[in-house]
Each structure stands twice: as structure tokens, then as C-alpha cells.
């Protein structure tokens, strides 16, 4: 009962326009960044490797290879700082968390996903 009340309280914070992205999807996350009083949009593009939590507590992790180095960023799904989430590619993934990507180095990391993607598109 108390939990119902709490989820009721946080209802206002939940964004209605979040696209239904899944684990394995290639996404572009547009975030608003305030620098020296000016606001600009920063884009972080990569693959969603996990989604966890529920309601206002829900977060997702995006992984990308930047200059040969794996970079992961965790975003709250309902953060007001996220202006847009674009789904670039959809893929068929066999697991809820794609942590195995962390073990893959270089080109292989990306290739594996493309294979999966091709499979899903058949």
C-alpha cells in the first residue's frame, strides 16, 4: 500500500514520450548540457547493454567504443536532461544484460552486434 502511494507520488516525474527501446538497440541519447550559462545538446551514441529498475528509478546503460576505448554511461530513463532518445538500430538479443561485450576488444565488439542485427532483420 505504501509502495503504491510512493509510485503515485513519483508519477509526475515519469516521461510519457520515452521511446520503447530495448537492450541491444543502437541508440543516440541527446542530453542537455549547461556550460558557462549556455545550454547545448550533447549526443552519446552506442548500444544499450542493460535496463534496470522500474518507475522513476529506472536507468539504462549505453556502451560505445570511443577512440578504441570502451565507454559506458548510465542514464536515468526519466531524467529531464535527456531531451531525446533516438533508436538507430534494433537487434535481436538473447539476453537481458549484454555485459559480455565488455570482454570483446576492437572491431569484434561491434561486429558481433551487426551479426545479431542481421539475424533479427530476416
Amino acid at each position: 500500500m505504501n509502495q503504491d502511494l510512493i509510485s503515485e507520488l513519483t508519477k509526475d516525474y515519469i516521461k510519457a514520450d520515452t521511446p520503447p527501446f530495448k537492450v541491444g538497440d543502437g541508440v543516440k541519447v541527446h542530453t542537455r548540457v549547461v556550460e558557462g550559462g549556455k545550454e547545448r545538446i550533447q549526443i552519446f551514441a552506442g548500444i544499450v547493454i542493460s535496463r534496470r529498475g522500474s518507475g522513476v528509478n529506472e536507468t539504462f546503460t549505453v556502451r560505445r567504443i570511443s577512440y578504441g576505448e570502451g565507454v559506458e554511461k548510465v542514464f536515468p530513463v526519466n531524467s529531464p536532461l535527456i531531451s531525446k532518445i533516438e533508436i538507430e538500430k534494433e537487434s535481436k538479443v538473447m539476453r537481458a544484460r549484454m555485459y559480455y561485450l565488455r570482454g570483446l576488444v576492437g572491431k569484434k565488439a561491434m561486429q558481433v552486434k551487426e551479426k545479431r542485427l542481421a539475424k533479427g532483420k530476416h
Binding site: 505504501n2 509502495q3 502511494l5 510512493i6 507520488l9 513519483t10 516525474y13 522513476v56
Partner: protein, 210 residues
């Protein structure tokens, strides 16, 4: 200052603040608290108000409790606490205190009983180090030395030892009020507070650093 309410811890969640940052909050239902009795130096030797929280069935209340509540013109309360003050209290018996005593951004203290942990060892209870896990150390989570030999010939007082942990009254000071919802008697407080969800807590305006 009689800015104290009795409340109930409902649980934790998170909200976004004006800077769009995530703030962890505890939801506390505070009040409404009817004043059951006013104590003054003349009548009782000290200044205080007695406040109640939560409904109790008329049938379940003892005759004494029924009479006591009737005198103030309110229903018998489930929880009753006394709040002392330096000066004679402004409130009268029958007044109802609620969350409007507080405002957003204000700092408050929350008093509650911590969760009971049962009989625990020194590592969990006092955060002592313990010994190495391997290399045949045979000394893992034990207490270590508890003192010297012939001098002083006894174990010092307050020596940290295993024993019962938790279920003690604890106060968390200077918690910031993130949001107040007067219609539902709710206060959203930044950070954690003692006790399990559903436990009774005391909410008062911070006595240190405002």
C-alpha cells in the same frame, strides 16, 4: 519551539530537483497531530505539549485514555508523545498540528528506532577489521585482544565486543525537506532515516544549523 510531529516512515524513492539532478528521498507521513494536553510550569513543573498521531478505535482505548482525549475534544490517538519547550506553549488542547509547520528547503531532525540486527559480532557491529581470510590464519572475524595483562588486571569499560545490535533510538540531524504535500500530510526528506518502512518516527525542526 514546538515544531514537532509524530509520523510514519513510508519508504524511499527518488525525485529530480530544480537542477535536474537525482535526489534520493524518504517519504514520511507526518501528522496530523492533535494536541491532547498542554503542560506548563504552573501546573506540571515544566512546559510541554502532548501530541497524538494515528487513530485508535474508541472501543480499544482504555477508559483513562478515552477520558484524556475527551478532555481535549479529540479522538483517542494510537501514539502519544510529549514535546518539551522552554517557553509556555502557544497551542491549546484540541489544536491540530500538521505539515504546514514546516516549509520546503528547511532542515529537520528525524528520530526513530533503528532496525534490530540481533546478536552480531564486532565486524558488523563496530566495523573492526577482522583477520586474513586465507593462508591458514585461523583468525577471521574474531574480536582480537581485549586488553593488557596483570596491569590493569581487568577489561576496560566500553571495550567493543559482540552483542545486540540495532533496535535503538537514533536521531538523524539536518535532513533537508525536498517537498511537502499538505493534502496527503507527506514530507519528502533527502536521504535515509532510521527504522523499517511503517515505523513511527518523530519529525522536528533541526536544533542545530538551520
Amino acid at each position: 519551539m514546538n515544531n514537532t510531529l509524530i509520523g510514519k516512515k513510508l519508504g524511499m524513492t527518488q525525485v529530480f530537483d530544480s537542477d535536474n539532478k537525482v535526489v534520493p528521498v524518504t517519504v514520511v507521513e507526518a501528522g496530523p497531530c492533535p494536541v491532547l494536553q498542554v503542560k506548563t510550569v504552573e501546573t506540571d513543573g515544566y512546559n510541554a505539549i502532548q501530541i497524538g498521531y494515528g487513530e485508535k478505535k474508541q472501543k480499544r482505548a482504555s477508559r483513562a485514555a478515552q477520558g484524556h482525549a475527551k478532555k481535549a475534544g479529540v479522538a483517542p490517538a494510537r501514539t502519544i508523545r510529549e514535546v518539551r519547550s522552554a517557553d509556555a506553549p502557544e497551542q491549546k488542547a484540541g489544536d491540530v498540528l500538521d505539515v504546514t509547520l514546516f516549509e520546503e528547503g528547511q532542515k529537520i531532525d528525524i528520530i526513530g528506532n533503528t532496525k534490530g540486527r540481533g546478536f552480531q559480532g564486532v565486524m558488523k557491529r563496530f566495523n573492526t577489521k577482522g583477520g586474513p581470510a586465507s593462508h591458514g590464519s585461523m583468525f577471521h572475524r574474531r574480536i582480537g585482544s581485549i586488553g593488557l595483562c596483570q596491569w590493569p588486571g581487568h577489561v576496560f569499560k566500553n571495550q567493543k565486543m559482540p552483542g545486540h545490535m540495532g533496535a535503538k533510538q537514533r536521531t538523524v540531524q539536518n535532513l533537508k525537506i525536498v517537498k511537502i504535500i499538505p493534502e496527503k500530510n507527506l514530507i519528502l526528506v533527502k536521504g535515509g532515516i532510521p527504522g523499517a518502512n511503517g515505523d513511527t518516527v518523530l519529525v522536528r525542526s533541526a536544533i542545530k544549523g538551520q
